[in-house]
Structure formats: C-alpha cells, structure tokens
Subunit: 229 residues, 2 copies
Amino acid sequence: MFPAEATLAPLDAMAVAGLREHVHRALRQALLSGSFAPGARLNERAIAEQLGVSTTPVKEALRLLEADGLVRTKPRSGVIVNFDFAWAEEMILARAAIESTIARLAAQRIAPEDKPVLAQILTDMAQATAESSADDLVRLNEAFHGHIRSVARANYLRLLNDRQDVYDSGARRVIHSDPAERQRGLEEHTAIGRAVIAQDADSAEAAMKAHVLRAGESYLDLVFRKNKD
Amino acid sequence: MFPAEATLAPLDAMAVAGLREHVHRALRQALLSGSFAPGARLNERAIAEQLGVSTTPVKEALRLLEADGLVRTKPRSGVIVNFDFAWAEEMILARAAIESTIARLAAQRIAPEDKPVLAQILTDMAQATAESSADDLVRLNEAFHGHIRSVARANYLRLLNDRQDVYDSGARRVIHSDPAERQRGLEEHTAIGRAVIAQDADSAEAAMKAHVLRAGESYLDLVFRKNKD
DNA sequence: TTGTGAAATTTGATATATCACATCTCAGAT
DNA sequence: ATCTGAGATGTGATATATCAAATTTCACAA
C-alpha cells in the first residue's frame, strides 16, 4: 500500500535561511526597485523596528549589502545607499564579463548528455516566445541561463553572478512582455545555445557578452528613464 | 604665518575602520595564505576570544567573508572554509574578466593629461625591473594597476576587483623576485599601457586579460604546488 | 543677521545574555 | 555487534544593554 521508503522532499533550504537572509532580500529588493534615493541613509534601528526584528540580523544583512556594493558604510556615522544609474550600468558590464566567462567554460566543459537538454530548452523557448505568457518566458529564461551555469561547473563565478542580479522582478516581467524584445532575446539565446552545443568557446563567450549587454541596456532604459518622468 | 585655511589631510579612513574590518582582514589573510584547511569549520566564539573581541564584530566579518565567497554558512550549524585550488582558479578567471573590462574603459576614457603619467610609470617599471628590489616592483605594480583603475573611473568594477584579491602578500614578493617573471611582467604591462595610451580598447582589454590569466597561473603554481610537497 | 560652540540627541559599534537547532555520546534494545 | 534515540553539549541566531562618536539644535555673542 505504501512504498517501503517514502522519499520526503527536503524542505527548501532557503525557507529556513533565517532572519539575516530575509532582511537582506527585503532591503536588496527595495534598493533595486528604487525605493531609496541614492545617497539616502539607512537607519539600523528603524529597519529593525519596521521588520520586527532586533538590530543584530539587520547589521549582518547590511554587511551583506555592503559586500554586494549596493550600500556603503561611513564609519561611525551611517550606512548610505550606493545605487544609481551609473552603478547599475557598471553592474551590467560586470555581469557581461562574468557571464560570458561562464559561457566559455560551458562550451569547453559541456558533457554530451547535456547537449540535448540545452537543445530542448531552446525549442521550448522558441515556442514560448510565440505563444506563452511573460511569466513562462521568464521561467524558461532562468532555466536556460541556469543550465549554462550548471554545465560550466563554475562555483565562484556563479556566486558572483547571483550577487550581481540587478534585475527587479517587476521590470523583468514588463520586458518579457514586449514582442520585439522577446524576439531579440530568442535570437540571442539561440546563438548562445548553439555555440555552447558546438563547443565553440569563442563564439559562446562573444554571444553571451553581447546578449547581456544588450538586454542590460533595455533594462536600464525601462527602469531609469521611467523614473525621470 | 599660517595659511588662512590649513588643509589637514583627513586621517586614513581605514585606520579607524573599526574591529569589524580588522577581523575581516585578519581572517581573509589567514584563509588566502592557507592557514585553514578547505572544509574546516570556523568557530565564532573561538575567533572572538583569540582576537580579544566580542562575537558581534566577528559575525559581521564572517558575513563579509561569506560575500567574498571565501566562506560558506551552513544555517544553524557553522561557517565552513570554502577556499581551495579550484576556487582560486575561478577567482583568477573572474579577476581577468573584470580587470580586462576596466582596461577597456580606461582606454575609452583616459584623459590627455593622464597619458604622460601612465607613460612615466612604465618607464619607472622598466628601470625597476632591471635594478630594483621586489618590494619596489610590487609598489610600482600596484601604482600601474591603480592608475589604470583610476582613469577608468569605474567604481563598482573596482570594488569587485578589490574583493577578488587572491594574492597573499608573501607570495607576491616571491614572484616578483624571479627574473623571468619580472621580464614577462614588464612586457605585458608595457603592452597594456601602450594600448590604453593609444586608446585602443580592444587591445587593452585583450592584453589585460592575457596578463592577469598568465600571472594568475604563476601564482597558483607557486602557492598550491608548493603546498603539495 | 550670522557665526560659534556647547549641550542634547541620534546612531552605529561593541559587548553580553539567552535561545534554539545541530551534533555528539552512550546506554539500552534488538 | 549494531542500531536507535534520549539526553548532554556545542554553536550559531537573536535580542538587549551600553558606549562613544557623529550630527543636530539652539542659545548667545559679535
């Protein structure tokens, strides 16, 4: 009646990540979506009270943000928001540099059995570009980039990349709703995927760099131009 | 007798950086020089006691290290050393990617008055390579890379770069004592400097990437092969 | 009115106490 | 002998108290 060994899915590690991560995410999201003006000061006690926690996890989260580069600490004075257009622009340059290095590794290291998986994702993306919702496309997008990172077996680079996620989730949806953008994205993803499958490291690196830079431009345009209204 | 407005140099911000930074540096140095085995666990209380501080700055420093990627936190269990050969290798790839992006920006943005400064540093390096101590060469080396970063006016990228400093100061001296290495370094630096002065962005980027990758290899060879004895 | 500086206040930095989860130990059952 | 799990112990996570530097306020003098 029951299987001898019921396999319970281990609960998501992030679910028990603790307050520190929670605070970190909350602040990060707020910063990237522009809720704090550049140069504004963050108050440890105020944040702690607002989130209903003590200052200890807040301090730790601020250190994480500091290392993310989104915030700067003026010793014995305060924590200052360090995110604006120029900063976002540089983050995208960095992302392009890192992610293209990952793509190169992926092309060099991809295992034969991973090739059909990547090809399948590309097929799905082509279909989804034509008919599916922005949400589906965002999901596939992440599956694609995730698979590239995965076959590259790059741990440190991957960490860096996560840390450089400049994209506000709201804006991401908006972008993936624009038909022209969807089309361009598909073409670029296809080029990257084919290069990786063909194990053409130079092409994979170049295609990824071009993609991240161009997509980044679109994003900056959307988020920062909109704010100027 | 006195100038109307005596401009006192603000004392080095880092001198008063506080315990957090102090702990961070101490641990970072220890990790990079291999004092902790990969996978070893770091004990907050033990570190705090050893350094004569409370656990609060230690916790904050560990968060910084965590973001540096040198350490990983297993929730509610402990902090684990996350630095080994493969990790260092990837840090060098990342460094090459970031620093070459900086070199590109430098070539694009260098101001006319900065060109002679850079040229002068190259001249000094040529001379020091032939006649000076490793310490002098290390200093010039830093002046060179620092000047490139400075003319690139890249803030975020610069931050990333600082975070990726894998080089143990001891090993750096050893490397700059080897004649062959000194010669290669000079040639590469010259190529980079000339490309930046000529505002040839593609060459500057390529030359910097090649330099960082090659120098990184030398470093890995020295530090990790030596440990295998 | 304007500039000065001392006092009040804010706020980050640090230390300490407490809690809860993870890991280890070992007696007792099989 | 091996496995199980309850209790003991270790350790990070969190909360709170205290301190000292930075900032702001404001009365007062020029």
